[in-house]
Structure formats: structure tokens, C-alpha cells
């Protein structure tokens, strides 16, 4: 699944981040430093995919 970050810069200069294609808490880990670098986080809302487990790689022996 392609990982996307949609950045919306509002008319007054506030920024909204929307992550897509992430599972579990990896979305927040991915953007945490970016959000803090931009300014003060005023609101965070988790979505349905947040509750899903991140993809885990499995090694399959032939």
C-alpha cells in the first residue's frame, strides 16, 4: 500500500496533515517530527486504520 501524506496549508497559514496507507501507530511516528518542526500541534484525530496492526514481514522457508 502506497504511503501518502497530504499536506493542506490553510488560508491563514495553519497546516493540516493527513496520512494515508499507514497502519497502527506508524503514521504518527512518521509525521511526529515533521509536525513539531512546523509548529504547535493543536489537534490530532486518529482514524480507523490507526487501530490496525502494521504490516509484518514473514520469512517463509521453501
Amino acid at each position: 500500500m502506497t504511503k501518502e501524506i497530504v499536506v493542506e496549508i490553510g488560508p491563514e497559514g495553519d497546516v493540516r496533515f493527513e496520512t494515508r496507507g499507514f497502519r497502527g501507530a506508524e503514521c504518527e511516528a512518521e509525521t511526529r517530527d515533521v509536525e513539531r518542526a512546523l509548529g504547535r500541534v493543536t489537534r490530532t484525530q486518529r482514524t480507523r486504520e490507526y487501530g490496525q496492526r502494521p504490516e509484518q514481514k514473514r520469512e517463509v522457508k521453501a
Binding site: K3, I5, E8, I9, E12, V15, R20, R23, T31, T47
Partner: protein
């Protein structure tokens, strides 16, 4: 979607601010220690947070906007980050160029430059940029 965050933009990156000025066609004057303003505090508006009257007109860098007489002063805060100081007295020409007293044009340009820099550093590239009817800029960034 996974999560949605809202951020109040704060200017803390001079390189991003320079990029924003370039994108807008403004001149970033590094090391300029004074900015043009009315020249006298008349007390009709509050001073910027942490500023004293004797600080007005002084800065560490400045931005010159074509078509405006006044300039934007950029002053480093002791705790990090920068204050943007400018006189929005209409005859100075800045308030119209910056989109109002909150300088939204400058804040938007800075936020866009900063977001792109930070995400590029983390392996993202821009695949789409849209300008919405209300002035919102939407960037779609995809991990390489």
C-alpha cells in the same frame, strides 16, 4: 487515512523562510539589522509579545516586498524561533501584500516551503499540488 493533525505554524527555519521569499518574488536581506516602518510608536496597537518600544525597527534580517515601502523585520528569539515584525499602517503597503494583519500570505508560503523541506528529507516527493477556491494549498507527498 490513519491520522489527521492540525498545526499552528511557527517560523523557526531561516532556510525555509528564504525559499518562501523566493517563491513569492520577495527579497530576503540577510544580516540587515533594521527594517522600514512608520518610525514612531503611537500606541494604537499592542506591541508584539516580548518586544519593547526601543526594539521596534531593529532586526536580525529583513524582507523587502516589491511595491511596499515598509519592510518585514525578522528577529531571533532567545528561546529559539523567529518573530516577524512589521508595521501594518496601510500607506506602508505591507498589509495589502501580506494579506492582512496576520500576514497569511507570508505564513502560507513559509509553511509550504517548510513542509516540503521536512518531508523531502524523509524520502517523500511531491506528486500533486492543488490550489483550492478558498486559498488552501493541498500537497500530495508520496514516499519514494
Amino acid at each position: 487515512m490513519s491520522h489527521v493533525s492540525t498545526i499552528a505554524t511557527e517560523v523557526n527555519d531561516l532556510a525555509a523562510l528564504k525559499e518562501a521569499c523566493s517563491a513569492q518574488g520577495w527579497e530576503f536581506r540577510e544580516g540587515q539589522t533594521s527594517y522600514r516602518w512608520f518610525g514612531r510608536f503611537v500606541g494604537d496597537t499592542p506591541l508584539p509579545a516580548g518586544a519593547r518600544v526601543e526594539d521596534l525597527g531593529r532586526c536580525d534580517h529583513a524582507i523587502r516586498v516589491p511595491g511596499a515601502t515598509y519592510e518585514v523585520g525578522i528577529r531571533a528569539r532567545s528561546a529559539g524561533g523567529y518573530d516577524l515584525l512589521w508595521d501594518y499602517f496601510a500607506p506602508g503597503g505591507l498589509v495589502g501584500k501580506l494579506g492582512g494583519q496576520g500576514a497569511p500570505v507570508l505564513k502560507r508560503a513559509y509553511a509550504e516551503a517548510k513542509a516540503k523541506r521536512e518531508l523531502a528529507r524523509r524520502g517523500y516527493r511531491q506528486t500533486r499540488r492543488e490550489l483550492c477556491a478558498d486559498g488552501t494549498v493541498r500537497l500530495v507527498m508520496v514516499k519514494r
